[in-house]
Symmetry: C2
Subunit: 278 residues, 2 copies
């Protein structure tokens, strides 16, 4: 079981310093998986995730940030939900970074991110992140290039600082095709239960597709590091996306070499032998 | 399908002003459910919950607090996880209220609670709550009775204020038996993956069982209201607990009469007919 998946995380990892040619990465790729196999892998990884989260919390020395980037309707919420099935939501910090508030804009771009970094033993899941400050900010020219370009270095310094403190950052770019995105945006426009996600602005950003791909490619190339690499996930098929994300997060936690609790062997006996009126 | 469950929420609701005789409420009760039926009901309610959360978010006028109280190992985390399966975790605020920090103690007891009240359109799930301030605080005599006793009225005023703003509060007391609790505490003491939940203090609090039951009974009697009733959930069997919690939360949201989005009929057509190079 543990060997299932054939190292999916390795197949979608972008080597540090390498350019990800997004136009050539097939968003509809199955990575050789069958759907049944992928779903079984997700369940297996969710179970393992629960165990690893227990160790992380018990050790209380390391922490994990998992961040999701991608075009609108790329499946960021969906990926989070699959992760959550293997987590105790009470010790996970869920953050969706939207358009910055006035207060957030009055600080440096990492201010709101730093506030949401997990405490030791915990996990933060970010829907969007500090990468928006070199993506939408660049494409919409919200600040001039001399302001956003130095941010690559600021981000690398920030993530290296986290790594030194024992906080690992996993970065996913959920890669959907333009066709699949259109289908999903149409659902949001028409289905009452998905209508809360509908936004007229999504169509405008869709028109900037090529500019976004260029911005993503440079961000990935400039900020992928050995300790904190980027993973570009084929996301047109939700079951492929889920398998890749779960496999990668579990792999990352395994690599963190979390200490394992060793409860005393007689602990249960001692508890159970107490008199009824303890 | 929608009629499944035979009004579970009604069967565990404590009528406002009534005393819940906890010693007489069977924690092992199945409420006449079979396990298969209960699990099917949970899935059905999770699906409905997802739809209702979409309406809540879209309407952005009302909000929901679901709070869980109960003895240690009563299944508060487990109940939250079943709810989460029907929710988008990015728009839920998960809060575990532990031992107050120095900063929290320097304020009134509702200060930390008010900070975590959901914004309009969202849901907060509380693992423990302001009720700790009339439970552990009372049993351990952390403050004298003239301090904690007036809190019942303060709580009622607070929850009535939330109700007037459109925020509904659902209150669960997860009711486990002493035997079942001991089994679960023993697991925490011995299983590496559950060891992070192990706490020596849990055994001490177990010794105060009767004092806790008395405190719960008074809290439930004094703070159950028409708008914000208490539900005492038989929690020895996790599948019974899950069915009751899901049924009750969905019932509560249905009663909130959330407005339903009515997307324009031609929305999808308009999107899909845009030229490829939109």
């Amino acid at each position: 079981m543990r060997r299932m998946g054939h190292g999916l995380h390795r197949r979608v990892r972008i080597e540090p310093g390498k350019r990800a040619d997004l136009a050539k990465i097939d968003a509809d790729d199955t990575l050789g998986l069958e759907r049944d196999e992928a779903e079984e892998l997700v369940r297996e990884r969710q179970e393992r995730l629960e165990v690893l989260q227990g160790y992380l919390k018990w050790g209380a020395a390391q922490a994990l940030v998992v961040l999701f980037q991608g075009m609108d309707a790329g499946g960021k919420d969906g990926a989070v939900r699959q992760l959550v099935a293997g987590l105790n939501p009470m010790i996970v910090n869920f953050v969706a970074f939207g358009k910055p508030t006035k207060e957030e804009l009055a600080h440096d771009f990492l201010w709101r991110i730093r506030r949401e970094v997990p405490e030791r033993g915990e996990i933060s899941l970010f829907n969007r992140s500090h990468y928006e400050d070199v993506l939408v900010v660049r494409v919409d020219e919200l600040v001039p290039e001399p302001v956003w370009r130095p941010r690559f270095e600021v981000i690398n310094t920030f993530e290296a600082e986290l790594a030194r403190q024992g906080t690992t950052v996993v970065k996913f770019m959920l890669h959907v095709s333009r066709d699949e995105q259109l289908e999903r945006l149409a659902e949001r426009a028409t289905l009452p239960e998905k209508h809360w996600k509908h936004s007229a602005d999504d169509m405008r950003k869709r028109g900037q597709w090529d500019a976004y791909m260029e911005a993503y490619e440079e961000a990935i190339k400039r900020t992928g590091t050995e300790v904190s690499p980027w993973y570009v996930v084929p996301a047109d098929r939700k079951w492929v996306r889920n398998a890749v994300v779960l496999d990668t997060v579990v792999h990352t936690l395994e690599e963190m070499r979390l200490p394992t609790p060793t409860p005393p062997e007689d602990a249960a006996e001692e508890l159970l032998n107490r008199p009824a009126g303890d």
